[in-house]
Symmetry: C2
Subunit: 114 residues, 2 copies
């Protein structure tokens, strides 16, 4: 649970930046080299690499070096972790809606019984 929570911290932190989200959007279409990924951004390579390392540390991407080229690819499992968290939130709201409906029904039935 602690580990899952720390993982979520890293994932959400990684997603809280437009450059990193754009990189994930590009990698959603298929793997790409650092050079290709960096091209659309008006950013020095060291700054761009910080974003790549951030994404890699959060588990959202993996990178592999072949010769002089480092290729990045998306990892889908962390996205599943977000969806699990969102589903748990939604389950709470739905349970609450069910309780409110039961309450309204009970009040109505009581009214009719009078």
């Amino acid at each position: 649970m602690e580990q899952y929570s720390a993982q979520l911290d890293g994932i959400f932190q990684a997603l809280a930046d437009p450059t990193r989200r754009a990189v994930l959007g590009r990698l959603g279409k298929g793997p790409a080299s650092i050079g290709e990924l960096a091209k659309p951004f008006d950013m020095a390579l060291p700054s761009f690499m910080k974003h790549i390392h951030f994404l890699e540390d959060s588990g959202l991407i993996r990178t592999r070096k072949a010769g002089r080229v480092r290729t990045c690819a998306i990892r889908k499992r962390p996205f599943a972790a977000i969806e699990t968290w969102l589903s748990a939130q939604r389950a709470l709201w739905e349970a609450r809606t069910d309780r409110l409906e039961q309450f309204v029904t009970a009040v109505r039935d009581k009214g009719q019984a009078r």
Copy 2:
């Protein structure tokens, strides 16, 4: 688009903290006062209020003061924004899987035609 992106920055940043996620989990069950929300956390009130303000600024919660009590409630719209973003990611992956399948089918058909 710019505004949507800035909104996502704030939402993901707000979710990147276990205290703030726990507060959202509590509010998923229904509105609560600041006092009730703060109780489970071993944290000074000013530190806790920073989390509340962060959540409010990101749009994930709204607060209302009645007399001396400030009550917080969850806002569901930002969750929909995350889901929209996740769906867009998933659509990219699926389009890619479709292209890979078409490619495999084409290669296989070419092999059979020989």
